[in-house]
Each structure stands twice: as structure tokens, then as C-alpha cells.
């Protein structure tokens, strides 16, 4: 059922995608639903998708009494060789998970991973963040852009539950901040400026310590050390390693508990291209995780993001799709 689709969406697809990006990876997106009351979210979703051109979609909207969607999703997953992302409604997440499994690619449910409404945070009298309103679907990447001191790191720390929001509402996965802060740590991987590792301990010891804190099996430590290419030097104390190596270990630390949400603060700082490549499956787009990415590399960040949030002096300048040229305005 993937092949024919709703004409208007196909038309949109044709217009929005340049030939080049179609060849690269036409992101097909199947939405299957059978309940009339969710027609609205589908339409909203479609609108969102049209804004984000790399997420061109096949939207199938059906209204039948029962909900035998499983078969169709499976079919979509199998048939859709080009099915890169399956966006699915929360009613059928269980089926969508199956589809995800078959395609081994991420999916986004309509239930957003992050939903911020008028978020505010002060330091004493100084306002660090105000009026931030953004919604990030599951599996999507949000690029946070802005000059130094614009509030990017503050936003990440609020999302990580390290800072308490002072006003507005913030929902991170299924946790309402700050009331349900305790739910956040298990689901969030945070990679900030500091590696959050002890200099006197080796990479392995550091990761084992974090594995114990997270209640993760120790065998994952060895796997991750291999994945970040640090096996050979895993037993040297951190202070003897270069900043880039520490950053690789920090990335391993951030994904130790396989979190669905990653908060990345310039994750590729200090990394050479090879190392950056190596970390791609862990913290890159292909990891299938929802990501919030703070970066000063406007083009790079926009290329791997589905939506962007621009901050200036703590205020939101834009949220959603944005042209690189407009984003660069932030730094002027």
C-alpha cells in the first residue's frame, strides 16, 4: 500500500525534493490510522512534514471501524525499500515498533519527545531563557542555534533535568519538568562541554562506574569501548588521553544506558573527522534517537536536523524550518 498514496502528498513530494536529495535518501513516511478522531493530528503532521523538506512523506489516512493496522504497517515496512522513517500514531505504537524492527530504522510517533511551552529560566535576576516554545517529534533532530550566551547550554541543562525551569511547561519524554525530574535521567543521554569523567580513572573504570550508577550490565562497557575505538587505550587514566579521546569516551558514557533522547552540546568539538565518523552510529542521526543538537556549525547542524530553534539573548527567534541564511543572522 505504499506505492500509490494520496495525490496531494505525492505532488508535494515531487515539488519539495530536488533530484539530488531524492537520490540520496527519499525519506518515506507511512502513517496508518483508523480512527477518525486522529485525522487532525495526521493533517498537522502532514503540514509539519511539508515544512521539513527532507522528510517527504507518504501519508495514508484511513477511517475504518476496526484497527487492523498491523498488517499494513508490516507490509509498508517490507515493501518500502525506500521507507526510511515510519511515523506512527501513538495508538499503534506497538505495531510501529515492529515496523521499526523490520526496517531497523527509527520512527517517530505523534506523541512528541519534547514539548516546551513558554519555557523560562533565570539566574538570579538575569533571564537566561524566556518564551521558548518548541515541539520535537520522536526520532527527530532539533538543532539549537545561537551566539555565545544565547541560552543554548541552559536549554540543554533544563531538558536534562539539571536545571529547574522557572516558568512555562516542559515535557521531556513522559516526564513533566520539574515535578517528574526523577524520570528523566534514565531516558536521557547528555554530552556536554565537560566529559563528566574522572581524570584519574581510566576510560574503562569511568564507564564501569557509570554503568553501575545506571544499573547497566558491565559487558556493555567493553562493547562501547570498541564502538568508540578506545579499546587499546581503555586502561590509561583519562588525564593521559587527548581531549578528543576523552570526548569519545564521553560519547560512550552518554549512550551507556541506550537513552531514547540525546542532548548534545557541540558533540564534535575536539573530534577529528575519523572519530566523528566513528561516533555517528552512537550519537548521529542514524542512532535512531531523538536528538537536541547545539552547534555553531550552522550548515552542518541544519543538514542533519529536522527542525531548528534559534535563540538570541535567551529569547526564541525562530522554531521550525529555517534557511541557513536566516540562521546565520543569529550570529550577526
Amino acid at each position: 500500500m505504499v506505492a500509490p498514496g494520496i495525490p496531494e502528498v505525492e505532488a508535494a513530494a515531487g515539488e519539495d525534493l530536488g533530484a539530488g536529495s531524492l537520490e540520496q535518501a527519499p525519506h518515506l513516511l507511512a502513517v496508518v490510522d483508523h480512527e477518525p478522531e486522529v485525522a487532525f493530528p495526521i493533517r498537522r503532521l502532514r503540514a509539519t512534514l511539508c515544512q521539513h523538506q527532507e522528510l517527504v512523506s507518504h501519508v495514508d489516512e484511513r477511517h475504518s471501524a476496526q484497527a487492523p493496522a498491523k498488517l499494513e504497517v508490516e507490509q509498508a515496512a517490507v515493501e518500502g525499500e525506500r521507507l526510511v522513517e515510519v511515523v506512527y500514531l501513538q495508538h499503534h505504537v506497538i505495531y510501529a515498533d515492529e515496523a521499526r524492527h523490520r526496517t531497523s530504522i527509527g520512527f517517530a510517533a505523534m506523541d512528541p519527545a519534547i514539548e516546551l511551552q513558554g519555557l523560562e529560566r533565570r539566574y538570579g535576576e538575569r533571564v537566561a531563557l524566556a518564551g521558548v516554545t518548541v515541539s520535537v517529534p520522536r526520532g527527530a533532530t532539533l538543532a539549537v542555534l545561537g551566539a555565545n550566551g544565547a541560552g543554548k547550554t541552559t536549554l540543554l541543562r533544563v531538558l536534562a533535568g539539571l536545571l529547574r525551569p522557572h516558568a512555562g511547561t516542559a515535557r521531556v519524554l513522559d516526564a513533566e519538568l520539574p515535578r517528574e525530574r526523577w524520570k528523566v535521567p534514565a531516558q536521557v543521554g547528555y554530552l556536554g562541554h565537560e566529559p563528566l569523567l574522572y581524570r584519574e580513572l581510566s576510560g574503562r573504570e569511568n564507564l564501569q562506574y557509570h554503568a553501575r550508577l545506571h544499573g547497566v550490565d558491565g559487558s556493555r562497557v567493553a562493547d562501547l569501548l570498541a564502538a568508540v575505538g578506545m579499546e587499546r587505550r581503555a586502561d590509561e587514566p583519562l588525564r593521559e588521553l587527548s581531549r578528543g579521546m576523552a570526548q569519545r569516551l564521553a560519547a560512550a558514557r552518554a549512550v551507556l544506558h541506550d537513552p531514547p533522547l540525546l542532548l548534545l552540546d557541540e558533540p564534535r568539538a575536539h573530534l577529528d573527522p575519523a572519530a566523528a565518523e566513528l561516533l555517528e552510529p552512537l550519537i548521529g542521526r542514524a542512532s535512531g534517537r531523538t536528538r537536541v543538537l547545539v552547534s555553531h556549525d550552522v550548515d552542518g547542524a541544519l543538514a542533519e536536523a529536522n527542525l531548528a530553534l534559534g535563540l538570541r539573548a535567551g529569547r526564541q527567534v525562530f522554531a521550525g524550518a529555517v534557511e541557513a541564511e536566516a540562521a546565520r543572522e543569529l550570529y550577526r
Binding site: 529547574r164 547528555y190 563528566l196 574522572y198 584519574e200 573504570e205 550508577l213 544499573g215
Partner: protein, 224 residues
């Protein structure tokens, strides 16, 4: 909670073994203070009240060093953030830090108390070893509980090097009173326990109050 506390404690002990920051410094400090007391008091050997006072004041001052270093690694290397990013209770941090401080104090005393016996004490120490160990243990629990709380309180302030000792020492006055009074009879030439029970009761009460209190309030520290 216990598992997380265990993980933090193991990490702290491993860090201490590797950096040798706290315990050697604390031990060296106690020995230096003995020398200072020798010259300051101009006495070759002490006994009774004076001996108990010198011993416990020295141990408390050494504890100040331990307390001021207790959160140093966490503060400088982001350990607090890492902990808040892990699904663990902050109470486990208190338990781990208290236990670490307790072990540090025990390690210091293993050297410092015999050294006191050798350097300054007139009468021998051996006669009342079990009682002395009990007093030391109860005193150390009190110091560890209050020390971990104070270290966490001071960790986030600007003038933490000043605030930690200024907070810690008055809070430890009851420990000093009880420990010195309880130890004193054993350091007299005519050894014999005197009112040991009431001082141990006071110490136990102090330990219980401050351990429970710290567990109750620790959750409010180290957040945002």
C-alpha cells in the same frame, strides 16, 4: 540506593588510592599538629584531660582537611552533574561520602593514635583498647555524617574553603566534648573508666540525629 552508594564509594576509594590526596595529607597534618602542641605547650608528655583534648582537637582539625577535599573531584570534574544525570537517589551520595570520610578518618587514626601514644602520651594506650576503639568509631560516625553534610553545603558556595571549617567545627563541639571526656580517664596514669556510659549515650544520640537529619535534607542539596 545501596548499590549506587556502593558504586560511588568504590569510585571514591579508588580515586583516593590513585591520587593519595586526602589520607596522607590528613595524617601528615596530625603529626605536624602534635609537634606544634609539643612546642606550644612546652611539654614532653601529656596525660589526662590535656592529652584527651590535644588528641581530639588534632583529629577534628584533620577532619577539616578531609571535609574540604571531599567534593573536590566531583566539583572539578563534573561528578555532581554525572550523578544527577543517573537515576540514583542523592541520599546514596550522602551515604557514600559519609562512608568514604569515615574510612579516611579510620585510616588516619590507625597512624595518628599510635603516633600520639608514642610522641606525646605519658601513660600507655594499651590498657583500654576496646573502649578507645568504640569511642573513636562513634566519634568518627558523627564527624563523617556532619562532615558529608557540611561538605555538600559548602561545595556550591563561593567561599567554600572558609565556610566548610567555620561550619564544621562549631557543629562538632558536642563530639569533641563527648569524645574528650570519654577518652580522658583512659589517658590518666591511674586508668579507669568514669561515666563512660553517659558520654557514649550522648555520642550515639548525636550520631543518630545527624545521620537521620542529613539523610532527610540531603535531597535538597546539589540540585540545579
Amino acid at each position: 540506593m545501596i548499590a549506587a552508594a556502593g558504586a560511588i564509594l568504590r569510585k571514591d576509594l579508588r580515586l583516593e588510592l590513585r591520587t593519595k590526596e586526602s589520607v596522607p595529607a590528613m595524617t601528615l597534618f596530625t603529626l605536624t599538629v602534635y609537634v606544634l602542641f609539643h612546642f606550644g605547650l612546652d611539654r614532653d608528655s601529656l596525660d589526662g584531660e590535656l592529652a584527651a583534648g590535644v588528641l581530639w582537637v588534632t583529629l577534628l582539625l584533620a577532619a577539616v582537611i578531609g571535609v574540604s577535599r571531599l567534593f573536590a573531584a566531583e566539583r572539578e570534574q563534573g561528578g555532581i552533574d554525572a550523578l544527577l544525570l543517573a537515576p540514583v537517589d542523592r541520599t546514596s551520595l550522602f551515604l557514600a561520602k559519609g562512608a568514604a570520610l569515615f574510612l579516611f578518618l579510620v585510616a588516619v587514626e590507625v597512624v595518628a593514635v599510635p603516633a600520639f601514644g608514642l610522641l606525646l602520651l605519658g601513660p600507655g594506650l594499651g590498657g583500654a583498647l576496646p573502649e578507645l576503639l568504640l569511642i573513636l568509631a562513634l566519634g568518627d560516625i558523627g564527624i563523617a555524617a556532619v562532615g558529608a553534610l557540611v561538605a555538600a553545603l559548602a561545595a556550591e558556595t563561593r567561599a567554600r574553603e572558609l565556610i566548610a571549617p567555620l561550619l564544621l567545627l562549631p557543629l562538632l563541639v558536642p563530639v569533641l566534648i563527648a569524645c574528650a571526656q570519654a577518652t580522658e580517664p583512659f589517658l590518666r596514669p591511674d586508668q579507669g573508666p568514669e561515666d563512660l556510659g553517659r558520654w557514649l549515650t550522648l555520642l550515639t544520640l548525636y550520631d543518630v540525629v545527624f545521620v537521620l537529619l542529613s539523610v532527610a535534607v540531603f535531597d535538597y542539596l546539589l540540585e540545579d
